[in-house]
């Protein structure tokens, strides 16, 4: 895979060209994220209720109902609208000597993980991911802030294949 760098990076044209060569996550991950997002609704509801009992004098203040509506509405919106945005933001590529990642909706983060610096690679599957046939790929490096990088929502078979490929490519450079 050629280095996406001939077109000046950082420009709109550059990003377009980059994006064409980069892989995306599996579309089903949007569903997984939505489900986890929806699971937050009861927690948010309970949280607002707890706040109300702490702050107000009476058990059910007049503002509880509208507050719950606003909070739950916002949480619902986030749960539904957030995942596709997140999905669109995620891009990655396994290049010849490194792994290139780009992610983030609010905070954009671009990362490069050299194969030689990968200590080991895990695949991680929660119950939701298993049900949907997805898996997360977790790269472990010896770094501090960027030490563990996770590529979420890959098709299970793809994750396994990538893990094997990265494990083979990963340098034996364990001396830090």
């Amino acid at each position: 895979m050629s280095d996406p760098g001939v077109v000046p990076a950082g420009t709109a044209a550059g990003r377009e060209r980059d994006d064409a060569e980069l892989r995306r996550l599996h579309p089903r991950v949007v569903r997984a994220w939505r489900v986890t997002g929806l699971l937050w609704l009861p927690i948010v509801g309970a949280g607002v209720l707890a706040l109300a009992t702490l702050l107000a004098d009476e058990v059910m203040p007049w503002w509880l109902a509208p507050a719950e509506a606003v909070a739950l509405g916002a949480a619902l919106l986030l749960a539904l609208v957030g995942p596709p945005l997140r999905y669109r933001a995620w891009r990655f590529a396994v290049r010849q000597t490194d792994v290139f990642l780009r992610r983030g909706v609010l905070v954009h983060v671009t990362s490069i993980v050299p194969h030689a610096r990968i200590q080991h690679v895990d695949t991680q599957r929660g119950p939701l991911a298993r049900w949907l046939g997805l898996a997360d790929l977790v790269l472990f490096t010896a770094g501090t802030r960027g030490a563990v990088l996770t590529i979420p929502g890959l098709a299970a078979a793809e994750a396994e294949a990538l893990r094997d490929r990265l494990a083979a490519l990963a340098g034996l450079d364990d001396a830090v």
Binding site: D3, G5, P8, A9, G10, T11, G14, T97, D98, L106, V107, H108, V109, T110, S111, I112, V113, P114, A116, R117, T141, A142, G143, T144, R145, G146, A147, L149, G171, D173, A175, V176
Partner: protein, 531 residues
């Protein structure tokens, strides 16, 4: 290259710690048991005498018991290439540490330990965390030093690291590595006084003392109440007196904090000596607790040049090295993460030479003349510093009192700080190195060798994107909380740097890998160790 295994020695059998462990472990445990014992003693009640007695009993008995348990069950030994430790009274733990992974091997002695003739040996590996660490607390002082030399010798034998003088591993290695190396820095008491006087921490101490005084107010001591008529407080004169009193108090704290900082630095770094012996760095320092430490140069991930406000004014700086692996806070003064004091104080002009002693890439490299980040960063800094004041003034004026609008008078100060912040940001590329600088109070310049680079990131918050800026993060295996970053670069520059640094780091790794391969295939002769 690993050579013949050492012949059977005193370390093959399982050894115990020094009997004095019971005393020192008990003292350590007492700290843990103190508060619960205090609560229990008060719970039992019955007068000060009985409570005091109960307190002593409740602290002493479990402490001595646990300490005795530790002494009776702790065993260590050296296999040909491993350090093996068995510990734990209730839950037995068997810990095996490969000697080639040893990074820091330190012997530490507190004043009391020195009196008794014992010392603590502490070893760490690159992986950090509690699982790959060992503390032998306490050993006879001579045993500790002997074991340290043995560990160092074995590690060198196993990692194949070469000193120009050493052709092949031999039993004399242990002796050789105890021999003195090339001295780099020796600090006289005068230097330490300057270090303590110019540290930013002096200001923190003042703040600490101030908060201490608040505590004093809580104690049941009757401080004399000032004879002030409350209604008179609204008059201007009373206000001025109060302001003068506060100012005088602040001044007192600053002076005391300053003196304490000097005294603290003197005690902590007394007789500081740094030398390079072969491919490791050795240092020793300390008045009450004498620290000796060695760090293999291989483990150095980055160097930090730190210039506090006062030090900058006098052309002084401190140097720290970031090593792989975590350093726990306990022991040699709360060091955070993997940052270690390299040189507590030096003339900034002398810094490049010292950095070159640790990072060969830095030989003859200019550490000054960093590039500024994009001028748009000025705007972002101005917004960041002004916004809290604007919001605070507006909010307080609306909710409390319109008089709070006077806070807006702080805006020029905010702009000055923003400008200082912008000027403090800087970066530079040198062959094999990345320099990244930031910080207003303490200006920190990271010097990162690209061969130690782990991962690279470019990060942009929505606010940065608005200004077309981004932050470049160069991650290394240093265990510290902080990481080298170039803040508020122009977005295109950041993307370009990301690519270029990655390419350069890759080339360096490839070169190191190929020369490593060629070395292992030829007969081992002393050769230039590629760093």
């Amino acid at each position: 290259m690993p050579s013949e295994a050492p012949t059977a020695g005193p370390y093959d059998a399982r050894r115990k710690l020094h009997p004095a462990t019971v005393l020192f472990a008990a003292l350590d445990a007492a700290r843990a048991f103190f508060v619960p014992a205090l609560l229990a003693a008060f719970g039992i009640g019955g007068g000060t005498g009985t409570t005091g007695l109960w307190l002593v009993v409740l602290v002493a008995v479990p402490s001595v018991l646990s300490a005795a348990g530790k002494y009776l069950t702790f065993r260590y030994r050296l296999a040909p290439d491993e350090l093996i430790i068995d510990s734990g009274v209730i839950a037995r733990r068997h810990r095996v540490i490969p000697l080639r992974r040893l990074q820091n091997i330190d012997v530490k002695q507190t004043a009391v330990e020195r009196l008794v003739g014992v010392a603590e040996l502490r070893v760490e590996t690159a992986s950090g965390g509690r699982e790959t660490e060992a503390v032998l607390n306490v050993l006879a002082a001579d045993d500790a030093e002997a074991l340290r030399s043995e560990l160092i010798a074995r590690r060198h034998r196993l990692t194949g690291a070469r000193d120009a003088d050493v052709d092949a591993a031999s039993p004399a290695d242990a002796e050789r590595y105890a021999a003195p190396g090339v001295p780099l820095v020796r600090l006289a008491p005068r230097d330490l006084v300057i270090a303590g006087a110019t540290a930013n921490e002096a200001g923190l101490l003042a703040a600490g003392l101030a908060s201490l005084l608040e505590l004093v107010g809580e104690l049941p001591i009757q401080l004399p109440e000032p004879d002030v008529d409350p209604s008179a407080l609204t008059t201007g004169r009373a206000l001025m007196l109060a302001a003068a009193a506060v100012l005088a108090l602040i001044l007192l704290f600053v002076v005391v904090g300053w003196l304490v900082s000097i005294a603290g630095t003197l005690v902590r770094y007394w007789g500081f000596g740094l030398e390079r012996a072969g491919d490791e760095l050795r240092k020793e320092y300390g008045l009450l607790a004498r620290h000796t430490g060695s760090v293999p140069l291989e483990r150095v991930q980055a160097v930090r040049l730190e210039e506090s406000l006062l030090r900058r004014a006098f052309g002084l700086a401190a140097l720290k090295i970031e090593t792989a692996g975590l350093r726990l806070g306990r022991g040699a003064g709360g060091r955070r993460g993997g940052a270690e004091a390299f040189v507590p104080i030096t003339r900034t002009a002398a810094a490049p030479e010292l950095v070159a002693a640790v990072l060969p890439e830095a030989r003859g490299v200019r550490l000054a003349g960093l590039e500024r980040v994009h001028p748009r960063a000025r705007r972002r800094a101005a917004v960041r510093y002004s916004l809290p004041i604007l919001l605070g003034a507006a909010g307080l004026a609306a909710l409390v009192d319109p008089g709070w609008l006077l806070l807006l008078g702080l805006l020029p100060l905010a702009w000055l700080l923003a400008e200082a912040h912008y000027r403090s940001l800087g970066w530079a590329r040198r062959p094999g190195l990345l320099l990244a600088r930031a910080g207003v109070l303490t200006r920190v310049t990271w010097i990162v060798p690209l061969r130690k680079l782990q991962t690279l990131h470019v990060r942009a918050t929505p606010f940065q994107r608005r200004h077309g800026l981004a932050t470049l993060i160069a991650d290394t295996a240093a265990g510290g909380a902080d990481v080298a970053r170039v803040i508020d670069l122009d977005r295109a520059v950041a993307a370009r740097l990301l690519r270029e640094l990655n390419d350069e780091a890759r080339a360096i790794r490839a070169y190191a890998g190929s020369s490593l391969a060629s070395r292992s295939s030829t007969a081992s002769t002393s050769s230039e160790v590629l760093r």
